[in-house]
Symmetry: C2
Subunit: 119 residues, 2 copies
């Protein structure tokens, strides 16, 4: 029996969060959202495909920027309401041109930028 | 000026997703939700504190199970609508007693369990 994306748990907008993690280094690159069709497309094509909430359209990661995410492994959590995509990220994952979207460290006192845009 | 959790972007329920990642190994352990008060408590106490959507109460990770998460670093993403907590996880992070909640690998064909409960 093939895997059915309908067996995942989606929110009121029909979306499930997906964390992207770099294969090998374990670096957490970004988090974005998928709907059931985006999950199916990701599995079918091997190219990580999100659902853009702002554009209300499929978002094949890197399609315009070239900063693609090749799927290595897709994992679902115990509650089936969150995904982890292990990927091979080409270049920066973040739209700010940084490798990861999580480049700001927060303490009770202040925020510190941990990484610079890639050149 | 101290960091103000109100500067983060919360969803319609006042929540922001927080990914927990093990320091050193980079293993993604779980994803859960925080509200602004949970963010503040996490930073103040150094113990990762979520907001339980099912119980509608603060959830100090490991308070009952002993499987605590000591905060090493809290990071906010470029859109300020997702958090990454780098932690020192004591024992399993998952309620199924597995180290990580992401223990199931999905392909177009099937699901495969990648890890067993800890003993």
């Amino acid at each position: 029996m093939s895997f059915d994306p309908a067996t995942l748990v989606y929110d009121a907008n029909g979306l499930i969060p997906c964390i992207a993690q770099q294969e090998g280094t374990g670096e957490v690159l970004m988090m974005a959202w998928m709907n059931a069709d985006a999950v199916a497309r990701t599995l079918e094509t091997g190219r990580v495909t999100y659902w853009s909430r702002s554009r209300q359209a499929f978002w094949v990661k890197g399609e315009t920027s070239g900063h693609t995410q090749a799927l290595v492994d897709l994992r679902v959590d115990c509650d089936r309401d969150c995904l982890l995509a292990v990927v091979r990220q080409e270049g920066p994952a973040c739209h700010t041109n940084r490798r990861s979207c999580f480049y700001t460290s927060v303490t009770g006192e202040t925020e510190t930028e941990l990484m610079s845009p890639m050149v």
